[in-house]
């Protein structure tokens, strides 16, 4: 039995090492005073903040960061809100076109949004001409686009969870004279905290990692996201900028890790209740 436990620890340590070594490499590259890829090692060879100051002085990193957090945060909150509202209708109301609507959502969301980048560009050229606030190089337009791409999946996901909440609960509210909206706000939403958090987290992670659409629609200096900005760091001089890139990577991880730790208790529950990783 003891040797069995030792074996378990050996396996666990090996896998942990596999999980950690790229992260360790990023950390030591971030600290590496030379800041080049060729001088980066697995374990830190020295420690300096040169890469941090370089990143903040030579690039628009704070702007990228703000854009990314704003886009991902807004997309997560708004798409989950809109999806939850429509999921409620699909779960609780019976109306003509309900089945068609659900199946249509399922089929249409299978289309990867960025495959349609040419038509999307057409739409955004028109929007740019008429309402520049939502046009090209505007984070608001991209937020709308991302929400449009996410509501299908999220509606399905959240509806699955709503279906598991006993109808008696909100029916009791209706009998007591509440409106369906009140029943939705006071009964369904509080009970659905796990799935709403998970959906928001998945959207947040997916959006902050989105590269292709952002690289086409957000090219102006003020509009770039972390993914586009950090990619451009390596595109110009891959070797020389690696230290700065590593610092940027670690700083990008912070919001995700924070949100993740905060929501961890919901994750397993929410995911096993029918969640899908986008």
């Amino acid at each position: 039995m003891r040797s069995g436990l030792v074996l378990r620890h050996l396996v666990a340590i090996t896998v942990t090492a596999f999980a950690l070594f790229p992260i360790l490499f990023v950390i030591s590259s971030a600290l590496n005073p030379l800041g080049t890829l060729s001088s980066a090692t697995l374990f830190p060879s020295g420690a300096g903040l040169a890469n941090v100051t370089d990143l903040f002085e030579t690039t628009a990193f704070p702007t990228w960061y703000l854009n990314s957090v704003l886009i991902a945060g807004l997309t997560a909150v708004l798409s989950v809100t809109v999806s939850a509202v429509s999921a409620y209708a699909f779960s609780r109301f019976r109306f003509a076109g309900r089945r068609t609507g659900l199946v249509a959502l399922l089929v249409i969301q299978a289309f990867p949004q960025f495959l349609a980048i040419v038509p999307l560009y057409v739409i955004f050229s028109v929007i740019s001409d008429n309402w520049p606030v939502f046009g090209l190089n505007s984070i608001w337009g991209v937020v709308l686009l991302y929400i449009g791409g996410q509501v299908g999946v999220n509606t399905w996901l959240i509806k699955g969870f709503f279906d598991t909440i006993p109808r008696e609960l909100d029916e009791a509210m209706l009998i007591d004279g509440c409106t369906p909206t009140q029943a939705f706000r006071k009964v369904i939403l509080p009970l659905s905290a796990p799935i709403l958090s998970i959906s928001a987290l998945l959207v947040f992670i997916g959006t902050i990692n989105e590269f292709l659409i952002a690289s086409v629609f957000l090219t102006g200096d003020d509009a770039r996201t972390l993914a586009v900005g950090l990619f451009s760091l390596l595109a110009d001089q891959r070797n020389a900028n690696f230290g700065m890139f590593a610092v940027g990577t670690l700083l990008t991880a912070i919001p995700t890790v924070v949100v993740f730790q905060f929501l961890q208790r919901y994750i397993v529950h929410g995911l096993t209740a029918g969640a899908v990783k986008g």
């Binding site: 999980a19 399922l106 289309f111 409106t179 590593a246």
Partner: protein, 507 residues
């Protein structure tokens, strides 16, 4: 019922007035620029959407519609329209050289053929801008004009300075010499079309009127000049000369199902398509199997009553999932770098990991395993905790060995929880653009064929068709998109049918 859906309270009425005001305000804001631009289709869309909003939110009935309208509009605008538009583009030859209408192509051909002839008219040029767009302010013999890509127009209210140049004009901002030279390439490219030729700049202070050496003749539907004739070919959407040469600027024409059939029947593309599709299936399947196997294995290893430090292991193993995937993909790419990469340095090797098909394929799989297994681990851990210990105890009482208990009890229950996730993971990785594009960009490419790399997925291959170095072929790329979409749609329908999703529709 009536009281529930249509409360007559003061609050309810106030809310309705607010909603009404909001919808009307947004509609007015949205419609103003469309009216100014005389975009009546756009105006029509705004009117219909506004009417729908008012109808749904200001009347007591149509309760489900109140909840569904935002989702419907978003999905229509950003999913349905792009899909339908992609399908319609797939029926055309749109791409580089075939972007606009025939008239656009003729204008482009004529203006780009402009040559300066001796004795042609010369203008005094002042470069200015209006709303960010460059404008030529042109003066000739005391008369003032504005020149843009749209054409030449008389200019009122211009101030002529010494030497006959325009120094100021109402509504235009004259660029300083520094600003103008900073936009030098834009200025060189600005061509002002005029009858029989065009006006181009020469330096920053002069412009000349050149004559087109090519001209369109509507009678023969052909372009003549330079001692040759190019006849319009409405099927290909270009002007072709008798010896088979075509002018670079063509126009967009419908090609019917040609793109869709080309993808299947053209032996050159056909072979790629099947090869890429095969690897695409292998990639998605392998990623799912590898991540699930490692994730479940680690979860099982840590799932033991006397195991210590489980929380610590768990926190550390989950970390890759929390790291930004796009950045870590680039980190992995650079760890595989031949010259500077960590892997070669640590192993003392000099292998070009991403340069050979086999190692490149193994590399992208390893990278995706690293990114994906923590998620599977997390789910498997949760699922293991929900398996009632009575089941396992009962099996033990019946004399089942540890292995039998695992295969007959634990694994089936685990798979039940994981199944929907495996399906969605497959669908995600089938189109895992970042996972390939950021690591290998689809490469390595065979020396004789730069269009299809060893690690290309359908989606990266399609992307290169549309935006690659070979020149944009949007029409063909759209046809490929349609195929990718059909494959994914069928996959997701099958998978949802097999899981419980479709039963829920009927509930």
């Amino acid at each position: 019922m009536a009281t529930g859906a249509w409360p007559g309270s003061a609050g309810g009425i106030a809310l309705r007035v607010l909603v009404l005001g909001l919808i009307v305000a947004v509609a007015l804001w949205a419609v103003a620029p469309l009216v100014a631009a005389e975009n009546w289709i756009g105006v029509g869309i705004v009117v219909v959407v506004t009417a729908a909003g008012l109808l749904v939110y200001l009347t007591p009935r149509r309760l489900p519609a109140k909840y569904l309208l935002p989702t419907t509009l978003l999905v229509l605008a950003f999913q349905v329209f792009p899909v339908v538009h992609t399908m319609s583009l797939a029926l055309t030859n749109i791409g580089d050289g075939h972007l606009g209408s025939k008239q656009d192509a003729i204008t482009a051909i004529e203006t780009s053929s402009v040559k300066r002839r001796p004795g042609s008219a010369e203008f005094r040029l002042t470069v200015a801008e209006k709303d960010g767009d460059l404008v030529f302010l042109l003066a000739e013999g005391g008369r003032a004009y504005t020149g843009t890509a749209e054409g030449l127009r008389p200019l009122e209210g211009a101030t002529l300075g010494a030497g006959g140049r325009i120094t100021a004009a109402d509504g235009y901002t004259v660029l300083t010499a520094g600003q103008a030279s900073a936009r030098g390439s834009e200025i060189t490219e600005l061509v002002v079309p005029v009858e029989g030729g065009a006006i181009r700049s020469q330096g920053l202070s002069r412009a000349y009127r050149g004559t087109a050496t090519l001209a369109y003749d509507a009678v023969c539907d052909c372009v003549t000049g330079q001692d040759r004739i190019w006849r319009a070919d409405e099927e290909q959407g270009r002007f072709v000369s008798d010896d088979g040469q075509a002018l670079a600027q063509g126009w967009q024409v419908d090609v019917g199902l040609a793109n869709l059939t080309t993808a299947l029947t053209n032996p050159k593309i056909n072979a790629h398509f099947l090869g890429v599709f095969g690897w695409n299936l292998v990639y998605a399947t392998s990623v799912v199997v590898l991540t699930a196997a490692l994730g479940v294995a680690v979860a099982l290893v840590l799932h033991h009553p006397r195991m210590r430090a489980v929380r610590a292991y768990r926190t550390l193993i989950v970390l890759p999932y929390a790291m930004p995937a796009f950045a870590m993909l680039l980190v992995w790419r650079d760890m595989f770098n031949t010259d500077f990469g960590l892997i070669n340095k640590m192993l003392g090797l000099d292998v070009d990991w991403l340069g050979a098909p086999l190692t490149a394929r193994l590399s992208v799989l390893l990278v995706q395993l690293w990114l994906g297994f923590p998620y599977m681990f997390l789910i498997a851990t949760g699922a293991l905790q929900t398996i009632p210990s009575e089941y396992l105890e009962a099996a033990q009482v019946d004399g089942a060995t540890a292995w039998q208990r695992f295969v007959k009890v634990t694994l089936p229950l685990l798979m039940l929880a994981l199944a929907p996730l495996l399906v969605s993971s497959f669908a995600f990785n089938f189109n895992n653009f970042n996972g390939i594009f950021l690591v290998t960009a689809g490469g390595p490419f065979p020396a004789d064929n730069p269009t299809m790399g060893a690690t290309d997925l359908l989606i990266t291959y399609t992307f290169r068709l549309a935006f690659g170095q070979q020149g944009a072929q949007y029409g063909l790329a759209s046809a490929m998109s349609v195929y990718v979409y059909l494959i994914v749609a069928v996959l997701s329908i099958i998978s949802f049918r097999r899981t419980r999703a479709f039963q829920e529709v009927d509930r």
